[in-house]
Structure formats: C-alpha cells, structure tokens
C-alpha cells in the first residue's frame, strides 16, 4: 500500500515537473518579450526626434523601428565564407538530415500516445500489455534518434554560422527571443522525454498509468510548440512580416511569427511528420520481420508494421488537402510564387510529387491486398482486386498528366503548342483532383475490405448496410469522376471550385464508411483468425517502399518550398548574393534528394541496429501473449 502511495506521489511530482518544464520557457521568455517593447523607450531616451516608424510589409501596420535593416550582402569571405564546395549543398544536407530526424522524434511520441491510450482503454489485458510494450519499444527507438537530432541541430547551426554568417546574424537578430524560447523548449522536451521514458515501469497500473499517459500529452504539446517555433523561421523566410521594406524589425514578435504561411505550414508539417514517422516505424518493423528467425517474432513485427502503416496512412490521407490549403495561401500571398511553383520553374518537381503521391497510395493498397492473405475468409475479396488495380491505375495516370508546363520557345515549337499533341487539353486541375480523389477513395475501400476481411456482420440490418455502402461508394466515384469531366466544359475560374465537392465526397467516404463499417462489424462472426506473420515478404517491401518514397517526397517538398524563394534569403527583403543564388536542375535536385534519403536510411538503420542490441537484453515477457492471443490491430480488428 505504501509502495503504491509512493509511486502515486512520484508520478504526480513527475507530471508537475513536466508541466513546469512546459511553462518554463513561457515564464522565462516573458521578460525577453517585454524587452522588445522596451526598446522604443530606449530610443526615446536618446532623443524624442529619433523615433522612426516603419510600415509592416505584410500586416501594413505602422510600428516603431527597433531593428537594423537586412544586410546587403556581397559575394566574398565576409558574408559567404566557404570551403572548396558549394555551401548551399552542405547546408541542404545538414538541414535535411536534421529535419528527417526531427520529424521522426516529434512523430514517434504522438504514436506512443495513441498506442498507449489504446492499451489503456482496451479491455483485453493481453492486448493492453502488447500495446504498452509496443509504445515502449517505439519510444526507445526514438530516444536514440533524439540525441542524433540534437547533434544534427548543432551541425546545422554551425553550418549556418560558418557559411552564411550575415544571413544567420540577421535572422537571429529578428528571432532573438523566439530562439531562446526554442532552446528552452528543447530543454523541456528533453526533460519530459526522459521522465516519460524512465518513469514507464513505475507507472503501469490504474491512476498511475493515466498520469503516465498525461505525460505523453504534455510531451507532445511541447514537441508541437517546438515545431511551430521552428516553422516560424521558414515562414518568415518565405513570407516575411513584422518588418518594414528594408527588413527592419518593428517590435511586434507575434507579427514576425504569425506570417502568411505559418498556419498552413504548421498543419502540413504535423501531418507530414506523422505519416513519415509511420513510414519509418513500418520500415523498422519490416526489417525486423525479414530478419526474424521465429514465427513469434514474425507475428509481432507483422502486427507492428501493420499498426505503423495504418497510423501513417491515416495521416497521409488528409495530407494532400493540407497541401492544397498551403498552396492556396501561397497564391493568396504572392501569385507569382504560386505560379513559379505550380506552373513555372518548379512545375516539373510537382509532376514528380504527383508521381510520389501515387506511389505512396499504390504501395499502401498493395500492402493491404497482401495483408488480406493472412486472413482466413478474406479470399472472397481477392477476385475484385484486379478491378481496384484498374481504377487506381486510371486515377494515377490522370493525376500525373501535366496540363501546361513552362517551356522554352524551341520546346514550344517542337510540341506545336502549349499543350501536348496527344494529351491535348487533358490534365486540368479538376481532372487531377478527380484522379487523386479516386485513388484515396479506392484506398478507403481497400481498408474497408481489410477491416471486414475475415468477418461476417451479424447485425440485423447488415444486408441493407452492405447495399448502402455499395451505393455510397458508387455515388462517390460517380460524383468525383463526373465533376472531373465537367471541369472541361466550364470556365477555369468556376472549375477551381470543383475541388471542394470532390474533397468533401472523399472525406464523406472516409468518415461515414469507416463509421458504418465499424457499427456493422461490432460483434461480427469471425470466419477465421488473422494469422499474424503469415504474410508475404513482398508486403514488407511494400512497407519499405512506402517509407523510402515518403522520405524522398519529404526531401522533394522541402526543396521545392525552399527554392521557391529563388534568389532571396528572405523573400523580397534580403537578397542572396552568393554564387549559388540560382535554382538547380531537376536532375541535380533529384540526385541530391536521393543522397539525403540514402544517408538518412543508412544512419537510421544503424540506429535500429543499436536499438536491437538493447531489445536482445529485454525480458522475455515482452513476447508473452504472441502465441496465446491474436493481436488485434487498430481500425476494427
């Protein structure tokens, strides 16, 4: 009894410590934020007449100038010191590696929170233990990656300081208080993570477990805020605010943080991190599955791979919509920036992106179809898969068809016009939206089939439910494709609006069909057990494909986002006068992204290997229950 009370006290203290850590940066930053407001007073003391006002380039409000203008750099050792190598490429590498690891360590705690929560609420004790162990394994992997993230962050800052001192100096002069809060947040994140991880075994039951779960929430709140702050820097570089035309800080730190693109960037990155984290963990599981020597291990890692994939895809599905919002905001901020992205210099990169999105969804579907093979009773769906393949391929081909692409006069002449002689006017946005919505809807259908693979609904209205679902999906396809075709018959400005009903249709399928299916499968009759581990090796390569493709796409989108500034360090405020102020070819970018992706994967495989050294010493009880019970993954099983 005394032991339990002691543990309770310990856990409450730990939670309080975490909340304290969470609030620490805010408490510490208040004086520094206030300092920003004091600055004009200091100016006043020097002489009333010296107060100079400036106009915010974005908010158009007037503010008192408290910062220096953005430096006008010149190519030379003072502003651009360098090695005998392109500094931009070095920075690209350091930045991308830090981002990969950062995304991973921010995403995994969210996974842990979800999985631990599932373990707490599930009534099956064996499953609860397995979920708990899985969450623990995840955080253990993340812990090793966490230190690497910090190391890479240090390398990134040193790279900035040594290769781009003038630019980094300007950025840090604007974001001085934010950077300090960021550093404190990092301390809070580290402290919270360690308390969360090392307190795991001390808080395993009842109220203590809930406290532990609350800690994961605090951990994720800190992690998310940390990411938001980092996003404010890139948001400022793309769409500066809070400064005047000369780049002079006007004293309002919120304006500097809350730029035109900050909100969509935040949402896009959270979703992206989650999908990426899912991919990495799924690849880890695939690696362990392929390396397993026993059926028990194979069953465990098969299950782990499935859960990671399901979580990753759950965040992948809304990702295109978040991307759409981001692009809309880019167009609203600067139309020319949007055109450079979607119809200008960087347009071919978006064709690659479309290809990648298609690959991600095709891999997911392929995995699910393979996964049907480990269920007895799911054979009835196998014969329909070929039709799904056909639908997916059609959607994919439409999705990757370009409409208008910037081209040289020679190319224009060779092609005989702005449009391709064969493709003609195909590939307008409503058709492309139709393509991707068909792909997503088909993925939802695959998931629904998977969720009911070995089950037969026993509810009295099951026949009606099945018919309703069939009709619903049929109408959804009809609506999406119909609107895609309609787009060719209406003016461009009206056509743009078709994306809304198309997306709404897909989301309706996602929410209503999943919900309806769950109701129908409640208490359903099992036709056979899910034989975890009895899945083809090919399916695991689909997971690896998913992970690699996602990593590659992340690198690609990061490159696009960064290079859209063209020859500006800070868009329209601070010009890049280095010898590398031009945009690389698509081929070079692709090679560089591949290099970054492979470096990340080689290093993370090393991290996995390090993690496996620890797991070998883990108590045998971790594998308990594998033989006895069938693990039930999220999403209906």
């Amino acid at each position: 009894m005394g032991l339990v009370a002691g543990k309770k006290l310990f856990s409450i203290m730990a939670l309080c410590a975490m909340i304290g850590l969470l609030l620490l940066p805010i408490a510490v930053s208040l004086p520094s934020l206030a300092m920003g407001a004091d600055a004009p007073d200091a100016v006043k003391k020097d002489g009333e007449a010296k107060v100079e006002k400036g106009r915010d380039v974005y908010y158009k409000t007037e503010g008192i100038v408290v910062g220096a203008p953005a430096p006008k750099t010149v190519d030379g050792p003072r502003d651009y010191p360098r090695y005998n190598f392109e500094s931009r490429v070095l920075l690209w590498f350091a930045n991308q590696q830090h981002l990969y690891y950062g995304s991973f360590v921010l995403a995994v705690p969210i996974f842990c929170m979800v999985i631990e929560f599932m373990g707490v609420v599930t009534k099956d004790k064996t499953m609860a233990k397995r979920y708990d162990q899985l969450a623990h394994d995840f955080i253990k992997i993340s812990l090793t990656a966490y230190s690497l993230t910090a190391v890479l962050g240090g390398i990134l800052i040193f790279t900035f300081l040594t290769l781009y001192p003038a630019f980094f100096g300007y950025l840090s002069s604007i974001f001085r208080p934010v950077m300090h809060v960021y550093a404190l947040m990092f301390v809070a994140e580290s402290g919270t993570l360690y308390i969360y991880y090392y307190g795991w075994d001390k808080m395993t039951e009842g109220f203590l477990k809930w406290i532990h779960l609350s800690m994961s929430v605090v951990l994720n709140v800190i992690g998310t805020l940390l990411m938001f702050l980092a996003n404010s820097w890139i948001g400022f570089m793309m769409s500066p605010a809070g400064v005047d035309e000369q780049g002079r800080y006007l004293g309002n730190i919120w304006h500097v943080i809350h730029t035109a693109l900050w909100n969509p960037l935040n949402v896009h990155r959270i979703l992206g991190n989650m999908a990426f984290g899912g991919g990495v963990v799924a690849a880890y599981a695939a690696y362990k599955f392929l390396a397993s020597k026993t059926d028990e291990d194979r069953a465990h890692y098969d299950w782990m791979g499935y859960i990671a994939m399901a979580l990753g895809v759950a965040f992948l599905i809304p990702l295109p919509f978040a991307g759409y919002w981001l692009m809309r905001e880019v167009y609203a901020y600067r139309q020319q920036m949007g055109i450079t992205l979607m119809g200008g210099l960087l347009a071919w990169l978006f064709i690659i992106q479309a290809t990648m999105i298609g690959i991600l969804f095709l891999s997911t579907n392929y995995y699910l179809w393979q996964a049907l093979g480990r269920m007895r009773g799911a054979e009835k769906y196998q014969r329909y898969i070929k039709y799904l393949v056909f639908v997916l391929c059609c959607g994919y081909l439409v999705f990757i068809t370009p409409h208008t692409i910037v081209m040289s006069p020679a190319e224009l002449k060779a092609m005989g016009g702005q449009q391709h002689p064969v493709l003609g006017n195909y590939g307008v946005m409503s058709a492309k939206n139709g393509g991707i919505n068909v792909i997503i809807t088909t993925t939802i259908l695959s998931f629904v089939w998977y969720m009911r693979g070995n089950k037969v609904s026993t509810v009295s209205w099951s026949k009606f439910g099945n018919i309703f679902m069939g009709v619903f999906f049929g109408c959804a396809y009809f609506n999406i494709i119909g609107l895609a075709v309609l787009g060719y018959y209406i003016p461009a400005n009206v056509r743009v609006g078709l994306s809304v009903p198309q997306v709404a249709t897909t989301l309706s399928c996602l929410f209503f069909m999943f919900a309806l299916n769950s109701f129908m499968m409640k208490g359903a009759k099992q036709m056979g057990a899910i034989e975890w581990g009895k899945i083809s090796a090919r399916s695991q390569y689909a997971l690896i494909m998913l992970a690699t493709a996602f990593t590659w796409m992340m690198g690609l989108m990061g490159y696009i986002r960064s290079s859209v500034r063209l020859f500006w360090h800070v868009n329209e405020i601070m010009r890049d006068n280095s010898p590398w102020a031009y945009t690389h070819t698509v081929g070079f970018a692709a090679n560089m992204i591949s290099f970054n992706v492979l470096f990340f994967w080689v290093s993370i495989l090393f991290v996995f290997w390090l993690g496996s050294l620890g797991i070998k010493k883990a108590p045998v009880e971790a594998k308990e229950g594998v033989l006895g019970g069938t693990p039930q993954p999220a999403g209906g099983h």
Binding site: M356, Q418, Y541, N591
Partner: protein
C-alpha cells in the same frame, strides 16, 4: 571506363588491399579445406562487391554536378552489390536486401528526375545600384536613354524599347510618325511656350479643367514651368490631353497613357529625372539639376505613391521580355501595352481605339480570306501571330500602317504570344468574352 576504374582504385585501394590481405591471410592460416574454400569464396565476392561500390562512388563523384544523366546507375550498382552480399552473408541478409531495395527505389526516382526536361533557374540579374544623384548631366541623360530605348545611342533605332516603354507610342525625332501620342521632339521648349499657355490647360486653376482628372492628387495644383509640365504629364496623363491624342470617344478628355510611376512601368523618381534630363541634353539645352527635377515630381506624386528605386530588387536588363508567359493573359496585354491602343473584349481597361477592336475569332477568317490579303496565314491563330510579329503584313482598312511596333516578336516570350493568340482566337463578335487564364 578506364578513367572510372582508375578513379575507383585511387579512392578505395586501401579497402581492396585490406580484402586482398585477408584473402592471403585466410590461405595461410586456415587449414581446413572446406573452411578455406568458403573463406576464399566470400572474400572474392567481398572484393568484387567492394570494387562495384568504388566504381559507383567514382561515377557519382565525377558527375555530381555534370549534365550526365546516368548518375542513378551508381545507385543501381550499389543495389546489386547489396543483394550480392546479402546472398553470401545470410546473417545480415535482411539488412542488406532492405538497403539494396532502398537504393533501387532511390535510383528509380533519381533516374526519373534526370529523365524529365532539365529546367535550371538562371542567375538573378546583377544587383546594380545606380547612384543617379551623383551623376553628371550627360551621365544622367545616358541613363535616361537606356530607360527609354534600352541602350545608349539607340534612340534612332526602329523598335528599340527600354524599361520605360515610351517608344511604343511616342516618336522622338522630327518627321517620325506618332499616331498614338505626341512626338516629343522639342518638348522642353514646347512645354512652357505652348502647353502651359493653352487655355485648356487652365494653369493655376485645376478645378476649371475639363479632363478626366483635375489634378494629380488633391492639392497638387498645376505646373508653373516647362519641367513641372513634363513631370505632371508623366504622373497624371489625364490632367491635360493634347488635342487629338485622347482615348477615342472621350473627346480628348482622357489619355490612353498609363501613369508612368505606377505599374506596369513603375519608374522611380531618379529614373524619371534621368529620362527628363535626356529630353534636354539631346537637344543641346541645359537641363535642370537632378534635385530640381526630383522636386517637380514630388509636387505631383504623393510620397506613398513613389516607387522605390530598384536597389536590391531584381532590375530587369534593358532588353528583358515585356512578359514571359507565366502571367495571366490580361497581365500580358497590360504589360505589352496592347490595351493602350486596342479594345479587347473581356480585358479590363482595354478600351484603346488607335488600333482595331480585336475580335479575331470572327474577323481573322474574313481577313485572311479577303482578296486584299497578301500575308501567309491560313488559320486564325496564324493570322493573329502574324499580326503581332509582322503588323504590316496586313493592315486593317481605316487604320494607318507603321503604327504598331514591330518588336513584339522579340519582346514577348513564346508562351506569352501563345496565350495572346489563344485568347484572341476565342473572341467573337456578339459572343461573351472567353475566360482569362
């Protein structure tokens, strides 16, 4: 290939030497025949794999920046190496196969990126801050000529156009045709002696004017001297319109000229000072000082409307395109100043009447089928393209020849021309205008 092997050996000879050393060592130290055979086999495979890896690295290294589109070949080499090693090192087979597969995926994506057309964003225009205020009058005039015509000594070259785009409408020498706007020859003298005394100008009584605009901005007043008149006519073209040069149908109450300090031309005050100085210097007159000219502009352009002098903004070179084709078609029409002379249904502000109304979906077929037509077009798009790049090929009746500049073939990108042609082809008499894209 020989160079590649040489480079590979120079990079990785220690690794190959180590493996060779191990091979020798295994031959000496292992006595069991079967074990020796196994070790020999594995080390040979290891050497082969290491060699492939070194070739891949050498290939990647030598063509990192180059136009060689076979870089993914390096990655495929690594893939095959990984799978090869996976076969002979079964304990690490999973890791090697996964690694190999990832290299294969990366190779495919990298290859895809290299297969697509290679578009490279060129260097930005050189940052060149011109110190107008410290220039001599001649230097200032030279800069002015560059702004108007695109280069020094270009003022007599037919079709020479600079950032200011003035020659699109104005003529600058005696005898040259200026159908759309007055000939600016002798402007400094004429401004004071003719324009200011014109009763319609209403000097000192802006509210008595009968033009579309009374004054440049409330309280700006009217010009007091010739230079102020030039400044006012640049900043407020509709404050006074020379008889015969107004927008048709407005009874010369409105000028087709855009305010020169506003988009799309957006000349800064120092640039305008340079332009005006050229007007004086080329006629052998003493120009007002830089500061005096600036003051005249400050009188007619409120501070909030004064464009900043391009310092760290990308200043387009004099010969830069008027439109590169990434803009919507209405902006292309505006940037190329088509709107000043033509009425174009569906394009805001395109109410010009100096040239014919552009309803080419209907008119073009009638024209190229007409017996008077001597051009080479047989389709509507061809006819429109010909009219743009070679306006004298066919001149619409009741409109004079040589009014439209012949420079649009050079000043508009292929994409911009295509957009114009696409749009105009769809404009038909009596039909709603096409949508702007």
């Amino acid at each position: 290939m020989g160079d590649l092997i040489k480079e590979a050996l120079s990079i990785g000879w220690p690794l190959l030497a180590l493996l060779a050393g191990l091979l020798v060592y295994s031959q000496i130290s292992i006595s069991d025949a079967a074990a020796k055979k196994r070790a020999t086999f594995k080390l040979s495979i290891g050497m082969l794999a290491a060699f492939i890896l070194l070739i891949a690295i050498a290939h990647y290294e030598t063509s990192f920046y180059g136009a060689n589109r076979l870089l993914p070949v390096s990655l495929v080499l690594v893939t095959s190496m990984c799978f090869m090693l996976g076969i002979y090192f079964p304990n690490q087979a999973a890791l090697l196969k996964i690694g190999g597969f990832m290299f294969l995926v990366a190779a495919g994506l990298s290859g895809y990126g290299n297969w697509l057309p290679q578009v490279e964003g060129g260097f930005p225009p050189k940052e060149e801050k011109i110190q107008f205020e410290s220039m001599s009058a001649q230097q200032l005039a030279d800069e002015g000529e560059k702004i108007i015509f695109g280069g020094i000594g270009q003022n007599k070259v037919q079709g020479a156009i600079g950032k200011g785009q003035c020659p699109l409408c104005h003529a600058f020498h005696k005898g040259m045709l200026g159908e759309r706007a007055p000939n600016l020859d002798g402007l400094p003298e004429r401004a004071a002696k003719e324009r200011l005394v014109d009763p319609k100008y209403s000097q000192g009584k802006p509210l008595a004017r009968e033009y579309a605009q009374k004054e440049s901005f409330p309280g700006a007043g009217t010009a007091e001297n010739g230079q102020e008149y030039i400044a006012e006519s640049h900043s407020c073209p509709s404050c006074y319109v020379v008889a015969g040069y107004g927008v048709k149908g407005t009874n010369d109450k409105e000028s087709p000229m855009p305010a020169i300090h506003k988009p799309p031309i957006s000349l800064s005050l120092p640039e305008l000072a340079a332009v005006d100085t050229w007007f004086y210097i080329r006629e052998g007159r003493d120009a007002p000082t830089y500061e005096e000219i600036i003051k005249t502009y400050e009188k007619f352009i409120p501070e909030a409307d004064r464009p900043k002098q391009l310092d760290d903004k990308a200043a387009g070179p004099p010969s830069a395109l008027l439109a590169d084709g990434t803009e919507p078609v209405d902006q292309i029409f505006s940037k190329a100043q088509c709107v000043a002379c033509h009425t174009i249904p569906g394009i805001p502000g395109a109410v010009g009447t100096i040239g014919p109304k552009l309803e080419e979906g209907t008119n073009a077929p009638l024209r190229f089928k007409s017996p008077d037509y001597k051009g080479g077009a047989t389709t509507t798009p061809d006819y429109i393209m010909e009219s743009i790049v070679s306006p004298s090929a066919y001149v619409v009746k009741s409109f004079p020849d040589n009014t439209m500049p012949k420079v649009f073939g050079q000043k508009l990108s292929a994409g911009a021309l295509k957009k114009i042609v696409d749009y105009l082809s769809q404009v038909k008499v009596g039909a709603p205008p096409p949508k702007i894209s």
